[in-house]
Symmetry: C2
Subunit: 570 residues, 2 copies
């Protein structure tokens, strides 16, 4: 809760009682009350950042006609990485607030893997300027594993100086659940340091007594739940379930049956990773709400999950209801079931371009973060011979991969791509200026017949990941990333066909969301022109290096057998 002065309190009391005109009044809308489930017509009076009156008639210094509209509490995204929108926090703010999302709880995990605590600091500074309330969880697992080269490490002692920052809630998704169960000292040091704060979880498929051990360490929330059965066990074990619908991982349909009024105090919503194309085409949390209602979920249950329940799960006790004394974060809807957001109030302010223009700019960090030396085709030579080669099997729309084996052509001591079998090359080029590693392997399932696709977004260390049917085009694409300070590049026949620059740590654009969206469309078309059959080729590239997700992955150190959690000698 935010401190208030005597003068602010006096104004709020007078405006709430109606003895002074309120600063802002929404006239004649229907409030959806998430306590009783009632819909009732009322004015909503606002003073400063608070609601001060409902259930009555108010006059306002400024009045907004809300007749025919439905007013609900602003939505809370309880877990996401803003970097995955490819937007800076300021651009994300403009992109997502209009969808009714007035609070986001973000984990600056991606930028932290590139820049370390400087990345966290950039998010904290940005969070103090955004219109929406951006809350920050301190990234708990940087780097994610020892099997890759990241740009930075974060230990408990790096994080604790920021624990008491006004925008910090606690510790972000504790992905290293094997480390927790094994009582890894560095993990326990972080859990100890944050034992009085919220510690967010990340425990896909963790069940039974191992789940109990993980929870016993003080972890309280999880967004990695993919089946209703898993969700019910986690609910019964006191976890707050954060249902996720990202651009990559989509769990809403699998979990829709658990969104009941009974469970609603213990369920929240999140997007984790959602790209600006999906935000533009489908929406954000508003999309989740309308999808849930269309699937038969009671509006009371899903609107609670989207606001008050998420707030309570993370100790944000000032928001989540449309009632006097509560934070004036409101979504004004054309329609409750369809969750079409007409306008938004953020901390008592009508959200419009004028309001966004009042934000102070924050100096971006992580310029020139792509420190890989220029590469040539020969750098992608895959040494080896023999009849059998391990190949990463891509599964469309999933970040999980399969461990496949192919007989690939080889000559002169090197293995070659075979587009006939849909096997192309994949390489991860260390780009933090640490060691210049290049890990090389093969991937099946992209459908690429020629050219190359490269990205500086490569979870979680964000080295350059490149896939290609041609070593020269791979080199062209990788080198172009160095020139544009990171981003996505599609190259063929020695030339760049399409690109987007992501010069903020190689992860985020300097452009607004409309321009980023517009740049992604030709990129996607260029990738298709090379023959790929994947709907989201850049996302699939970005997750090839993530060695905490089964089964076969690749880092700058080489292929990783995730099931054995070790590098394999390809």
């Amino acid at each position: 809760m935010v401190a208030r002065t005597v003068a602010e309190l006096a104004r709020a009391i007078d405006q709430g009682r109606g003895v002074a005109a309120a600063e802002l009044v929404l006239k004649g809308g229907r409030v959806f009350d998430l306590v009783t489930g009632d819909l009732f017509v009322t004015d909503v009076a606002i003073c400063g950042d608070r609601i001060v009156g409902t259930g009555g008639d108010y006059r306002g210094i400024r009045e907004i006609d809300a007749r025919g509209k439905t007013i609900v509490p602003g939505f809370i995204d309880t877990h996401l990485h803003i970097e995955s929108s490819l937007l800076t926090p300021h651009a994300f703010d403009r992109c997502v607030l209009g969808h009714g999302v007035t609070t986001v709880i973000c984990d600056p995990h991606e930028i932290s893997n590139v820049l370390g605590i400087d990345g966290v600091r950039y998010f904290l500074e940005s969070a103090q300027e955004t219109v929406m309330d951006v809350r920050v969880q301190l990234s708990s697992c940087v780097p994610a594993t020892h099997l890759e080269t990241s740009g930075a490490r974060l230990e408990a002692s790096d994080l604790t100086p920021y624990m008491d920052h006004a925008k910090v809630i606690g510790l972000a998704e504790f992905m290293n659940f094997p480390g927790v169960l094994a009582k890894d000292p560095l993990c326990l040091a972080k859990l100890e340091a944050f034992s009085e704060r919220h510690i967010d979880g990340h425990a896909p498929l963790l069940r039974g007594l191992d789940l109990n051990g993980y929870l016993a360490a003080g972890i309280r929330t999880d967004h990695e739940i993919t089946t209703a059965d898993e969700a019910l066990e986690k609910l019964r074990k006191g976890m707050h379930v954060l249902i996720r619908e990202g651009s990559v991982s989509k769990d809403l349909h699998a979990l829709i049956s658990i969104i009941t009024e009974r469970h609603s105090p213990f369920i929240a919503l999140c997007t984790d990773d959602r790209n600006p194309l999906d935000i533009a085409e489908e929406g954000h949390l508003d999309y989740m709400i309308r999808t849930a209602v269309a699937a038969g979920v009671a509006p009371l249950a899903v609107y609670r999950a989207a606001s008050i329940s998420g707030a309570r799960a993370f100790g944000l006790s000032d928001r989540g209801l449309v009632a006097p004394g509560w934070r004036a974060d409101l979504a004004i809807l054309d329609d409750l079931d369809d969750c079409r957001v007409s306008s938004v109030i953020s901390a008592g302010r009508l959200v419009d371009d004028t309001l966004f223009a009042t934000r102070k700019a924050v100096k971006v960090v992580g310029r020139h973060s792509v420190k890989a030396r220029p590469v040539a085709a020969m750098d992608f030579a895959a040494r080896g011979s023999g009849p059998s080669t391990p190949v990463i099997g891509v599964v469309p729309g999933k970040i999980i991969t399969e461990y496949r084996t192919f007989a690939l052509p080889y000559r002169d001591g090197t293995r070659r791509v075979d587009t006939g079998q849909d096997v192309i090359k994949v390489a991860v080029v260390e780009r933090h200026g640490v060691n210049g590693n290049i890990g090389i392997g093969f991937v099946n399932g992209f459908g690429l017949k020629r050219g190359a696709i490269a990205s500086t977004v490569g979870h979680d260390s964000h080295n350059i990941c490149v896939v290609g049917a041609d070593d020269s085009d791979m080199a062209v694409a990788v080198n172009r990333l160095g020139e544009i300070e990171g981003g996505f590049v599609v190259a063929v026949n020695g030339k760049v066909m399409a690109e987007i620059a992501l010069p903020v740590a190689g992860l985020m654009s300097l452009m607004g969301h409309e321009d980023v969206r517009d740049a992604l469309i030709p990129l996607r078309q260029a990738a298709r022109a090379l023959g790929t059959t994947l709907a989201e080729p850049f996302l699939q590239v970005a997750f090839l290096p993530l060695p905490v997700i089964p089964h076969l992955k690749i880092t700058d150190k080489g292929l990783v057998d995730v099931d054995r959690f070790q590098l394999i000698d390809a």
Copy 2:
């Protein structure tokens, strides 16, 4: 949440995973899961003060057979004055914990009116030793009004040094709602100081826009709601409704219809003022739960209100569910519907006499707090004459009184009692050593034919309140209170018939709850022998001086017309 060390975390993880024996295991009970509403048989493993395992089989260093029992989260009394039990916090702990009440949120309002901040400090020190978790709200309204002489004042600057104490939640029931609405500077100073903390409310009958003004000041909870209609308005306005069943004010039956599963996340239970006789004869929160279930309330709704919902309302995020990682505060029941508590676990420890014996004693404060000079019969002379006398009309079982008028006999310039009309004398004797005031009036409805009843419990300033048919017996009773350092006395024919000493600030006994209960029975009999027809004569005496409750009250300054909120010249 309590900080945990690496060593504690490591033990919790191992015991949760079942790779080490748990410190304590409840074997084979049924857990009532307040998230899903399921009842399921499981072991419950405990390490230190936390639950570390459910949903599985565990072996324990110590095991308790819970077969046939039902395990629920320990109950949370969200608002009470421990002083009203007549017990010190240590004795209260032994009295109430066995009823499954593992957390109480108390307001040391009574002792603060006598001793000021020393009383608050005594409660904070005691709270660090009790087995149950006693949380303290800092008393917001000491004294309650300017119409009485209290022993102390508490301003914002007195309270703020204790804001960050580990046992402090925030600001206690803000009774002075007219002061809030009038923007009284001393009220606003307190609201400002606690604007980032929980501020508890107290707003009987406050509705409409005035309620909005009160809520706009940041007040979030209320236990003074007496009708379902009022409760629904307050729920819709975002208040957490604390349903009260005390010894004096009993609201459970009037509010039982609002205890639904839908509302349950926003409802909690409290006792406010409950004496040891009622605790012994009926129970405590267990009584409220069984009464609600017997009246048809869904067990899920009322058990949620008794634990998780109360915890969430006051930001106690570590308790309220039986699940790994949550505080091991448990009530083990013979029967769910009847809420018969078989045994209790408090912060992981089985509650028994051995456990209570480990508590360090806390030096009591407020000895010799009764500083009234000795009085004589003539001090109770009621000067006045004429046909009409204002008389306090007692309503059995209510703290509200009526403003009645009687024609009383008078001679020699003084008015006299008239037991034929059931009108006796009432006097309030200032006892804090401030000014020696004696306020004198008449009261109707006690049924007393002779003798006198006196008490140093006299809300909220806790001066001596005495009622009597005979001025000499009034003097005997009042003087006896001086000798025994406060308490309750019944006197007749110049002799004390029954008494209990309350030497801790004139409010609390030095005895255990069994002895206090045993002492109250002859006191009640003695009062009946004098002719009183009231079921709770001492409680009715204690509330005669409370000038914030309509309609006619008496303080050391004289009769108070509460509706006009001023002293009347009797």
